[in-house]
Point group: D2
Chain length 288, copies 4
């Protein structure tokens, strides 16, 4: 069922989150506590932006379980980034292969997903046909997650990120509903264009996978004044996680159901997340 | 650009062709002589039917180059089959992953391809949309070869194998032509339902990849009366190859351009291969 | 910490044990119940003998977790064997790579191990130096398990299998003890020469990993008279497992501590397992 | 037979050498011109030091052929380093696995090798036994190259790098000679401690694999005054390669037989390379 982390803030070595926390993503690949499965061994991926180049996302994906990838430790220690996503995979049916590992990437965008589209094999073709033709060739894998990403791109991710994802989810729910599939969408999402970071927690059934964001710097430092690591935090620093990286009280705030967060310079936003199917005339359905 | 072999006849250990010939497929993975590239190191696959079960194709595919796969030698020595296909891959652009290795499989069918669809990334979506919806979910990779196979299934491979492939190729040529893509299809194909084995050599440009079939048993034995291996051949035994496994004169007959071979119990057939686009009303174009 | 199975008896398709049991090895790769870890995702391997060739063990090993290996299902369904070992790996520190997957193979022999040598990194060199020079080049990996196998070969596995393993374990315990390492050996072992199958349960601490053997045919059929699968059993059929493949009462007999089983045509044997260090003059220590 | 590159100088993105040259290492993985084989598809590796941390070598190794590794392009573009080694592998007999890919690493050191030790399987045990016990546990693979590296560490690489390598090679030649193996050592080597970079070209037979170093900046700029890339060169910049990355005349200087180069701040050195077996009393032979 997957787990993921995102960092936004000062440049940070990726291994600070992955390896140097009590219960980081590497530990979660074998011992997830709040996921559907304890094991997330169907591959992993990291995507990041360099401090001086927020337009070009870089990526490293592998089918090795995260716990046994000999390269990841070196890479995570070497790569410092002000904005990165890390993801460990537990497949919901599609093959284990590098092109099916998250994050997915298109232009400036990186995208990770924890969850699934119910009945995906039945509606996969319909969903793919709705992807804008010029975007279609960017699809290299076979997961539901990647299709969700490309539907969001189709419905305007570049111009209206949250609206585009709401339309994509709405479209999937409508398509599934027409086939008698209930509870179509289960998701937490992390996506970014290198400037802002969005996180969404939502499921059709309103029983979503867990998602947390770190409390603001003042709160964290007040609660844990002796922690040297927290002493280095700034106002802008945020961590978003599928499940907490530590058991420290007060550090992790649960994201409510049907909620989107926007992490950006200055004040962040919290918004309702309301999927709705896009207007029919905007659909690509079937046209070559 | 790939190379492949097929065996049809008495039960034979797969390594007899792969490893125990002068210039077998393993050698061709590093030193192909008649392919576009000398190296075919982007994965390999074998597909076979057991003597007692001609309805259930088995398969082993790997992204390891054939020359370095430690398992293949063991498996090829152990697996005896009266009908098998073996393929080594040189990608024409799509990712190196197990789901992109040949043979492709659907129901009783196995399918291998040497060649490419020109401009595939431009027409991939159109071709996929034309695949029959109930067949669509069988597509797990991202190659042109797999799409060609699924178009053949769509256009009636079960009932009229050669006609279906002619329609699939014709459809691809028409689709490509409408986009200004010339010389759309380059191919040799090997496919089988466990009972008969088809081989086709064709290209839009009429400059096709090489393909050979072994001469009949009487000819081979007359030419090489002292060869103990040939002494074991029967009337039914045939080998089909991208390039000869040995330099023995008279053993390998080149398959002409635009030609299909049907290997079956009793007399085999040789037919012209004439692609033609299917009637428009039979097309799936766009319908969900 | 690994799990393994062995079959001895009538020819059986490998997938009967791996996939077609309630809690077979594939399920144990994600949900082991009696192992140190629930996950055994650091590779797997199968080794087998063909019915007509009990002198040549065949093998397939992969670093893919067993639960996601797309080839294994096909291969396990196709390969029928009267004697096979299957193993899923959870590394105790050495790299995840194909040469570190079990079973290990040398000549006629196959060998699997669940457990570890404590302090292995400290005594690895000493143990390797004690391996007979002409055997040494057979070592291709870096595990403690493989070294244990090669020490057994060194101390006479071909002529006195159980005695050789007792000497190997004794040597390891003595070497470790001299370095202050307690509880050096933890193991269940399965090994075979294609004719007989040995299983051993032992640990220096006398707190060994679990091991079970199937009850005899009459007992199993009397307990479960309506089970069609058990109806096919013969006197000779035995299954040896790290943990039971099902919850059926009476089918699985726990192997006691410090015990060796010998499965062979006719009556099987149960013997005490008593490690003792080999006579010093038989040691290779250091000689080039 | 392998190919490798090294960069020493101003911080440079790794992809500048690997991808953005006429005939870079990625091209050489399929089309080597001066190697034993044209294909070097048995894995690759890069090792580098960050600008601010010359004591901690980082590494990325993979069994994927370099030409098809989807991660390498991203990583090579992102990693900027003042000192790095890159290597593509063609195995001379040992398994294809990540632990057998170069560069090898120990403490501050990185090490790559093109060549082989003749008769390695016969003398492997002797060579391993001569490795200093406390160093022995660093050996994780099974190649001759890694053993050569660890013998160099054993014979004083930290204190007298070139002398240590001369002693290692001398020891190997003596050991091989005693077994009747002629022409034991074939090599070009690249190794570094993060501060200096050594390159050696040598073979027992005096018919060594090719090796080149870039001409000094003034020469290169005088020959090719309009090349914008060369305009950025400094006095300190050096590239060392198995075969030239381009056909530009005067840029690549062949390293003579039995020669070592030392690249360092200020003037570089060129020295004779003279292997000699170490004094017997310094040998570890056999001692536990």
């Amino acid at each position: 069922m997957c787990r993921w982390n995102a960092w936004y803030g000062q440049p940070l070595a990726i291994d600070e989150l992955l390896y140097r926390t009590e219960h980081g993503l590497i530990d979660q690949s074998l011992h997830a506590r709040q996921g559907v499965e304890t094991t997330n061994g169907d591959g992993f991926g990291i995507g990041w932006y360099a401090t001086g180049d927020r337009a070009t996302p870089r990526r490293y994906r592998s089918v090795s379980p995260a716990w046994s990838d000999a390269n990841l430790r070196d890479l995570a220690a070497h790569i410092e980034s002000p904005l990165f996503l890390a993801h460990i995979r537990a497949t919901t049916g599609t093959p284990v292969q590098q092109t099916n590992c998250h994050p997915f990437r298109h232009g400036r965008w990186l995208f990770v997903h924890n969850g699934a589209i119910a009945g995906f094999h039945e509606i996969r073709r319909e969903l793919l046909v709705a992807v804008e033709p010029t975007l279609f060739e960017g699809i290299t894998g076979s997961t539901d997650s990647e299709v969700l990403f490309y539907l969001a791109l189709t419905f305007g991710l570049e111009n209206d990120p949250l609206g585009a994802v709401e339309r994509a989810v709405g479209f999937i729910e409508a398509t599934a509903h027409a086939r008698g599939i209930e509870h179509a969408v289960q998701m937490t999402l992390g996506f970014t264009d290198g400037e802002r970071l969005w996180a969404v927690r939502y499921s059709t059934e309103r029983r979503s996978r867990t998602l947390y964001i770190s409390a603001d710097r003042d709160t964290v430092q007040a609660l844990h004044p002796d922690d040297p690591r927290f002493a280095r935090l700034t106002d802008e620093d945020r961590v978003i996680v599928s499940e907490p990286l530590s058991d420290l009280p007060g550090v992790w705030l649960a994201v409510p159901e049907a909620t989107a967060l926007v992490v950006q310079p200055g004040a962040d936003e919290r918004l309702d997340f309301r999927p709705r199917a896009p207007a029919p005339e905007t659909l690509m359905v079937g046209s070559p």
